[in-house]
């Protein structure tokens, strides 16, 4: 099954190419365009968090991206060497339309889109694994 791995500098300009890779694998998984877009959005938010909050926009960091697809399921792994940050723990409550927040929207999107978000702290960095499944309507 398709797996793509790339290592990119931790720069905001690199987020769009990562999203393009997610789109390729989401299509390979059989996802519809809406679900593919949602996955790109969630992965993009995770990458922006790493770049802005993890590395503090320092240009020296890198992100190792691995995207794996099987029919009906997409797995994205992001590995970095930034200080500890666990987005899997930062699940926010539902949005309040009467008092919409300006912060935390990226984490909210990640958790609303993805089925699973797992975090692991390595000695030299963080690994974030996100999974998304879509029912393709295929009988087993």
């Amino acid at each position: 099954m398709p797996t793509h791995s790339i290592v990119v500098p931790a720069l905001l300009a690199e987020v769009a190419p990562i999203c393009d890779l997610v789109n390729v694998e989401a299509i390979a998984a059989g996802f519809d365009s809406r679900t593919s877009y949602a996955c790109q959005l969630a992965v993009g938010e995770a990458c922006e968090n790493i770049i802005i909050h993890g590395y503090g926009k320092r240009a020296s960091g890198q992100i190792a991206v691995t995207v794996h697809s099987v029919p009906g399921q997409l797995t994205v792994e992001l590995a970095d060497s930034a200080p500890p940050f666990n987005p899997a723990e930062n699940q926010l409550g539902p949005p309040d339309p009467d008092n919409p927040r300006l912060g935390g929207l990226g984490l909210l999107i990640m958790h609303r889109v993805m089925d699973e978000i797992d975090y692991a702290r390595r000695p030299d960095g963080n690994t974030l694994t996100m999974r998304k499944a879509q029912d393709l309507g295929i009988d087993p």
């Binding site: 949602a38 339309p97 300006l102």
Partner: protein
Amino acid sequence: MDISREAYKRVTVITVKGRVDSSTADQFEAAVNDELKTGQRNLVFDLSEVDFLSSAGLRILVMSRKEAQKGSGVVRLAQPSDRVKETLEIAGLDVLFESFLSREEAIASY
């Protein structure tokens, strides 16, 4: 990302095209702030050609709404693309913005 502003009698239309994320949000925010500095509080965002809207772009839309409301203004959307609608729905913020099927209808609503 491309951004332009067009002032009408009661409203200014801010047209955004392309990808709106953290790498382009500063440019978007600057355009909105420039418009708010003119005193205009009624804003229409024409988002028909936005093909990606991240939380960084959402934050500016929400900020614009808050600032507009302080001056009794209203922020509305003109023909938001499917991607814009999907981001708003995922974040649960679609209820904040009245949307119109055309730019002309949005302008005429003021």
